[in-house]
Symmetry: C2
Subunit: 294 residues, 2 copies
């Protein structure tokens, strides 16, 4: 984590970047898969399957390969090519479905049943939340002079994991979840305090585009999140551009949700110290350039 | 530091990235200026001046401001606008000269004499080398399974600092300095074992474009470097492109010298484990895009 003054000047507040892309899988997801894979190894298990929007699959592939686990990843055929290629490059068996992430989840559950192997369910399985929670431990271990932490909201593992730690260790810190208007299911659920699903998603932030919130995750999120906000696609793109210009980081759309949230509500954050978790950089460069330089 | 398999596949070897851009000044230079500025503060000094290609000035501005030091930076008018803007934004007094970096060095020395303030001479002043040497400590503190470390060679602070630590702690590691063919003075000096100067420089790697090697630095470099190689501009650009694609990092040309060196001599590095120090990301984005996407 480090302060980025140039970004702060643009946003009218103090901004710290918690960087989660400078690692072999270019996202925070290996924090959880390292835990899952090491537990599976202890248990003598040899195979594991997960559904993935693209980042969990890379992380599980990486953690599994290091331990000789056979890893199967189910993903949507529409996931970014960069993510699918990188899952394959890590030696995982990749199965593509013709639907979205929710269909991949269904298929992964079927594979787990058929083969009798462990299904890793992102956000539901506590290891995935505990892995993300180590981000919170690192934040709380700093001098923790920040007022708010902005967390991309997908399935909820990062928000519940980081949020739980912050609410325990530095309860005065505001935990704010950010989701795109085009994939608002969990945010709406949080506001209505009941599971709300959507028919479809429409966002470039592929990493957070779920439609069926998990009830147990919503329960946790209601306990640890102070707010959940939605941001427009144009703000996500503006956030990606600001991160490029002022940090030199090419990030995937989900990683720009925090900056987008500040852009959409400058008054709320004016003069405060916010942390934005830059959670992934697995993006198709062609698409990135279409978005950022159009 | 982390392994980057995708980059390694492209280069035919194992590649670890030692990332020195994820910090408030986007280069490794604050490692040295933190030391300089804290010593000056202990001594009750209130002002300091340096010549800078652009990164040292930002770092000294940042370290000085934190301690209430008055910082003057002398730079070439031809330095990247991003670097000059960022020096000013940190509150330093910026004086521009109409020549190159060597003229800035002369002017900074004059200012120090006139004002009776400390001149920070990059690479000559041992604090700048000791600061960079902490990169070496971090590398040697890892399991140190790498075979070679590729270091951008400018004035020599990073090469002598990191090189000294590696030769002391992990002497089997090859220390390889990399400079552009368009700014070869120190590399030629190393090979001829005497100071060789050049009339001019011609490279996009503005951060390493010196013409007058410092004799004492050359002496140190002869002790700690195993090799010094020159790379072409096209390889630097190819290196920047590979780093963009495979790590998501927008780097300045000097930071791509290591990757360029592997590209130009694949056989030498085939199958080995190399560390490339990614030393800076202060680059004008317009120029970056002209280079990388032309």
């Amino acid at each position: 984590m480090y302060r980025c003054e140039a970004l702060g000047r643009q946003l009218g507040c103090t901004v710290s970047v918690k960087l989660e892309t400078a690692n072999p899988v270019r996202s925070f997801k290996a924090r959880g898969t390292e835990l899952v894979a090491s537990l599976l190894t202890e248990q003598g298990r040899t195979a594991v399957v997960c559904a993935s929007a693209g980042n969990l699959g890379q992380a599980l592939g990486w953690s599994g390969r290091r331990r000789g686990l056979s890893v199967t990843v189910v993903a949507s055929r529409r996931a970014p090519v960069a993510k699918l290629d990188r899952i394959r490059a890590l030696g995982a068996e990749l199965e593509l479905v013709d639907g979205d992430f929710e269909m991949a989840r269904e298929r992964a559950a079927n594979i787990a049943r058929q083969r009798g192997i462990r299904l890793v369910e992102d956000s539901l399985d506590v290891e995935t939340c505990e892995g993300a929670a180590t981000i919170g431990l690192e934040l709380a271990g700093e001098e923790a002079t920040f007022d708010a932490v902005l967390i991309a909201l997908g399935g909820g593992a990062m928000a519940t994991g980081v949020g739980y730690v912050l609410k325990t260790m530095v309860p005065g810190t505001e935990v704010i979840c950010v989701q795109p208007t085009g994939a608002p299911a969990l945010t709406r659920s949080w506001h209505e305090r009941r599971v709300v699903t959507t028919e479809s998603t429409d966002t470039i932030a592929d990493g957070v585009a779920g439609r069926y919130p998990i009830p147990a995750v919503l329960d946790d999120l209601l306990t640890v999140a102070d707010d959940a906000v939605l941001v427009h696609e144009s703000s996500i793109i503006a956030g990606m551009r600001l991160l490029l210009e002022h940090t030199g980081l090419v990030v995937e759309p989900s990683a720009a949700l925090g900056v987008a949230a500040v852009l959409e509500d400058r008054d709320r954050f004016a003069g405060r110290h916010v942390v934005s978790v830059i959670c992934g950089s697995n993006v198709d460069l062609d698409a990135y350039h279409r978005w950022v330089y159009r």
